[in-house]
Assembly symmetry: C2
Homo-oligomer: 336 residues x 2
């Protein structure tokens, strides 16, 4: 480019960036020639100056166990990703969706972001360890359960969200609530579990909790029913609260297959919604986690960190919205 315009690289740089002092005509000539030959400064070379590319990365940790962003009917991750990409754009950043940046052989780019957003980190998550060791800015959505106040994080208040549902089930007539969590050791699973345990303790009940792999989706239905309904009839739950929508869908189906009526004999609810919960019969009550708002907040924080600006803590995700559906709505007078 410098050669084409017959000037030095310095002048090209000055002219195109409006820095320094360059004669008007020179600027115009350089701009014209740049347009002609389709010259654009290399983003990489520019990034090298201040080690900033204007790039954010989103690491969706549950992907690790789920192996997809698109579990059938589950749009949570995609909604996070879409909203985060949008928010990033609005702030002049690009957003990159990556898997695990600690894996050997990741592309250069996976380590080149100015700041990272890590959703649902695991206990002692190696991704956070790496990021913090390298002093790369990051914010998590849901804390690392083992390092709660060590890193900037957006609190999910998993326990509080769980209580919203537990209260609802209780009001809907449940006396004995069983909880089905996933197996990932993240704040969502652990925090929700703790909330139920505390709640049961306060009422002198033994908590009924089962952890099953998120990835198994609807398939876990039979196992959940077997687990809670094969023992002492006095110990059977009258409500099952599954953290994932697909688990709840599977439980609902399995219950009905076994002749357990939903909601008459058993209330079922999910801590996060899947499409099938809106279309199944009965439809299933869920929590809408409002991932779009969470993503927006996360991007806001990530950008601040990338630019070295201070972040106002504490940060929290929006309160989940309770979508009450048939699975927890007993017709008055028809309750068992």
């Amino acid at each position: 480019m410098a050669r084409a315009a017959g000037v030095s690289p310095t002048t090209v740089s000055h002219a195109l960036n409006g820095k320094g002092v360059v004669r008007r005509e020179t600027v115009e000539r350089i701009e014209r020639i740049a347009a002609e030959i389709g010259y654009r400064p290399s983003a990489i070379a520019r990034g090298l100056q201040n080690s900033r590319l204007g790039l954010l990365a989103l690491v969706i940790r549950p992907f690790h166990s789920l192996d997809t962003f698109l579990p059938e009917g589950v749009d949570y991750f995609l909604r996070i990703a879409g909203a985060a990409s949008l928010s990033a754009m609005e702030r002049g950043y690009s957003m990159m969706l990556i898997d695990d940046p600690t894996r050997p052989g990741v592309p250069f780019s996976a380590l080149a972001a100015d700041a990272y957003i890590v959703t649902e980190p695991f206990e002692n998550d190696p991704v956070l360890t790496m990021l913090s060791e390298q002093r790369i800015p990051f914010v998590t959505v849901g804390a690392d359960p083992a390092r709660r106040d060590l890193f900037p994080s957006i609190d999910e208040a998993a326990g509080q969200q769980a209580m919203t549902m537990i209260d609802h089930l209780s009001q809907a007539g449940a006396h004995r609530i069983a909880l089905v969590t996933g197996t990932d050791r993240n704040d969502w699973n652990l925090g929700s579990r703790q909330a139920l345990v505390d709640w049961c303790e306060a009422r002198g009940q033994q908590p009924l909790v089962l952890a099953l792999p998120e990835a198994e989706g609807e398939q876990v239905g039979e196992r959940v029913i077997d687990h809670f309904f094969s023992g002492d009839p006095a110990e059977r739950p009258d409500a099952v609260f599954c953290l994932t929508g697909r688990h709840a869908a599977g439980v609902t189906e399995a219950a009905i297959r076994r002749g357990i009526r939903v909601p008459e004999d058993l209330l079922v609810a999910a801590g996060s919604g899947a499409m099938q919960n809106r279309t199944s019969s009965p439809t299933v009550t869920t929590l809408d986690l409002r991932p779009e708002e969470t993503a927006q907040l996360a991007v806001e924080v990530a950008v601040a960190l990338a630019e070295g600006r201070p972040v106002q803590e504490p940060l929290a995700t929006p309160t989940a919205r309770l979508d009450i559906r048939e699975s927890t709505t007993r017709a008055p007078g028809r309750a068992r």
Copy 2:
């Protein structure tokens, strides 16, 4: 790092990349120290060598007129983005979701991808012009209607997909099919329109076509009905084929509000599905464009281009799957 290990940068580079010849012990020492101080080579500096970052970019052009990746109930774009990100990872690339890289003030990173995927480019799309001028590799999903064979593209066969639906409507009893396209001048809208025009011509009919903004979604319902049902009764369609699921949802609602029964008096179908088409009453027949497979193919091509490998043309998106629902299913004997 070099200083910390008491060796030259060259040796560090050799040791960490397994290139050149370095004594075993030296390699080990360097690796140990690197681990200790959390040293990782800068992705940007490495990228500068071969101007490759291992970064792909996805430019979803309809975003321009839609202003969101998440129109209520429409998961098409997100499914493309999610699947593309996944496929990229599998091939050792990161995927970046960006808006319009030609806009002034875009982040450096938006111009730093090794190859671009542009979905649904517009006629004479400036994004393609810029990319081709700068000799940045790219592939489009759906051709630029004005430069059909100029750039590598994955053919959507919009006309063929439209014919699938037109044939279905015809078999379901339609004699007069109206088409509602979007207003973006892309291959999808233009190709589908052409297919209907040809089909009508072959049957000596005047084509009934209306283009309305994609972004208006369900709102267009009334306008579509007004447009096609206010004139000469002999000229009224007995089927409306909307390219977008939200348009179809709006048309179905509006028709019913006006006392036009669906499917008895009017068949309605959509060229791409939205959630509401599966849950409305009646449910609406749609085409499933299988965005995941399209995304996977696009990434495959983009990676090949980024690595300078030849691409096997012609390329085509998978054949859409027809999801037949109530809006085009007349009970036998009950048809008008």
